[in-house]
């Protein structure tokens, strides 16, 4: 049965230059095991491919039951010159939460 990241954890997006980072924090141990096993760089790249060139780096923080994805070339050149409405990419956390996992 498939499940959305939205049902497993919460997320926040931040920016530095043209790079976005999106954290995903599991609600509990069961959700953490699914996220850790299934929320791969490949799945995240597939979800962001139409707006970011990448590369994407994934960091694991088991003590926080969290993943941190660093998505390069994602913010239209960076906040000050971007033509995007959301130049900081603050809304990109919910693109992560919309990803479907096999579950």
């Amino acid at each position: 049965m498939s499940t959305k990241v939205y049902d497993l954890g919460h997320a926040r997006a931040g920016d530095k230059g043209n790079t976005s980072n999106v954290s995903v924090i599991a609600y509990d141990e069961r959700a953490w095991n699914i996220l850790r096993a299934q929320l791969s760089v490949e799945r995240v790249m597939a979800a962001y491919a139409h707006i970011a060139q990448g590369p994407i780096t994934r960091y694991e923080l088991p003590k926080l039951r969290a993943l941190n994805f660093v998505i390069e070339n994602a913010l239209g050149g960076g906040v000050t010159i971007s033509l995007a409405q959301d130049a900081h990419g603050k809304s990109l956390s919910y693109l992560m939460l919309d990803i479907e996992l096999p579950g």
Binding site: H10, R12, T57, L64, T80, A84, Q85, K90
Partner: protein, 448 residues
């Protein structure tokens, strides 16, 4: 000085932040220090532009309102203020603080000003320095350079606090350093005690965006509830001489502070969690844990730090032309097709007039303006077309909004609510500057 526990509060998390939570912090937060972070990556670029038009400007736009709100309570309660509101003109900001103090009928308020973050001259003298983004030398940006500022560390801010001035005003200082400096000064920590620097740096990192730690940027109705968001309280940190760190917020304020809000904020703007570089240290949050001690009280432990790097990060702001944009909305049957027709018309008109753009984009607000146009999006009832383009030529940029505006009469059926805008662009790029090339100093504006 030399208390066993100090309380460092946060008074602002960005230049346009709410003002009343800082007043609440000053009046009822029982703080020893309040740090105001008002200088984002883009903010100093904006203020440099303001200063280039008027040399007395170039500090944060809400400085007067913020100081009117907090200065009386801070002076009354003996709370020291530390802030980077000086932006591109910290001396001008210090004088503005003193104007407000006089208007409030306060006795003279000395302001210790941190100088040395402006490294424009050093960058001009070293055109070979490589940009972090591209690896290319900074030389090509020099003719268009508007500002170059180094992210200074907590050591010079600590020195400014040592003058005893009630207010410390800085330009570019790393955000966590504003908070760490209060601990270095107030707890007598050594700048080489990395166990302590880790504690102060993570405290600063968690608090630097103010309400983002206490329930801002967090609520999702039905899933993550936050109480009383119109009155979210800003965070403070109780820090002991031995390096214990407990976060809290003002009693009775809105919002929430717990393990969930802390976890979201600790990873905010974090890349490699083992390698978060500030001017003071390299912070490692891999083993950080949060423990709720009761309502809105969280203990933070497990932060580590390694030796600071031999360089300062510098942000170079440069003139990068203009951005022009225009918007128009459509609703009801076939709204998307009419908006798409409008886009084609605008692009054809701009080409007809001989304008070409290094970058132009169209967004369908309500559908694709935030997350892009992924396959399989359902059609919205309403859609708002937005076209934006960047150009070195002001006229070319201005034409974008003009051609969207003319759609009211010349475009598809039922287009309404048009708007257009034109703004000057300051790009930013970064590089690393050897520390020995930077000369920091503290100047005290006495306020007499």
């Amino acid at each position: 000085m030399d208390k066993d526990i100090i309380r460092v509060g946060c008074g602002a998390g960005f230049s346009d932040d709410r003002i009343d939570p800082a007043q609440e912090m000053a009046e009822r937060g029982r703080c020893d220090y309040i740090a105001f972070e008002c200088l984002a990556e883009r903010t100093i670029a904006r203020e440099s532009l303001a200063r280039s038009k008027d040399p007395t400007k170039g500090y944060t736009p809400y400085l007067a309102e913020r100081f009117q709100a907090v200065l009386p309570a801070c002076i009354r309660n003996g709370i020291r203020i530390v802030t980077n509101m000086g932006a591109a003109n910290p001396i001008g900001a210090a004088r503005a603080v003193q104007r407000e103090a006089r208007a409030l009928g306060l006795a003279e308020v000395p302001v210790a000003v941190v100088l040395g973050d402006d490294v424009t001259e050093q960058i001009r003298a070293h055109p070979e320095l490589e940009l972090l983004e591209s690896g290319e030398p900074v030389e090509s940006l020099l003719p268009r350079m508007a500002a170059a500022n180094a992210y200074l560390g907590a050591d010079i801010v600590r020195d400014a606090l040592a003058t005893g001035a009630p207010v410390v005003m800085t330009g570019r200082v790393s955000d966590p350093s504003l908070f760490l400096a209060c601990m270095l000064h107030g707890l007598g920590w050594s700048y080489n005690d990395y166990a302590r620097l880790a504690v102060g740096t993570i405290a600063g990192h968690l608090m630097e965006c103010a309400a983002q730690l206490t329930g801002g940027c967090f609520a999702d109705p039905g899933r993550k509830e936050v109480a009383d968001m119109a009155r979210i309280g800003f965070p403070f940190a109780d820090v002991s001489r031995t390096g214990e760190l407990v976060l809290g917020k003002v009693e009775g304020s809105g919002g929430r502070l717990d393990e969930m809000t802390c976890k979201e904020q600790v990873l905010y703007e974090m890349h490699d969690p083992a390698h978060y570089i500030t001017p003071d240290c390299i912070l490692d949050v891999t083993d950080v844990s949060f423990e709720a001690l009761g309502a809105n009280r969280v203990r933070v432990s497990g932060a580590r730090a390694r030796a600071r790097t031999p360089t300062y990060k510098v942000v170079v702001g440069y003139h990068d032309g203009w951005i022009g944009e225009g918007e128009v909305g459509y609703a009801g049957p076939n709204a998307l097709a009419r908006a798409q027709l409008a886009e084609r018309i605008v692009r054809e008109r701009l080409a007809m007039r001989g304008f070409a753009y290094p970058e132009i984009r169209a967004d369908y607000i309500g559908m694709s303006s935030l997350h892009g146009m992924a396959a399989g999006r359902s059609q919205p009832y309403e859609v708002r077309l937005r076209i934006a383009a960047r150009s070195p030529d002001r006229k070319a940029a201005q034409a974008v909004g003009f051609e969207v505006r003319t759609l009211h009469v010349n475009g598809p059926a039922g287009g309404g609510g048009g708007s257009n805008a034109l703004r000057e662009v300051l790009g930013v790029k970064s590089l690393l500057l050897p520390r020995e090339l930077v000369r920091t100093e503290v100047a005290v504006e006495s306020g007499r």
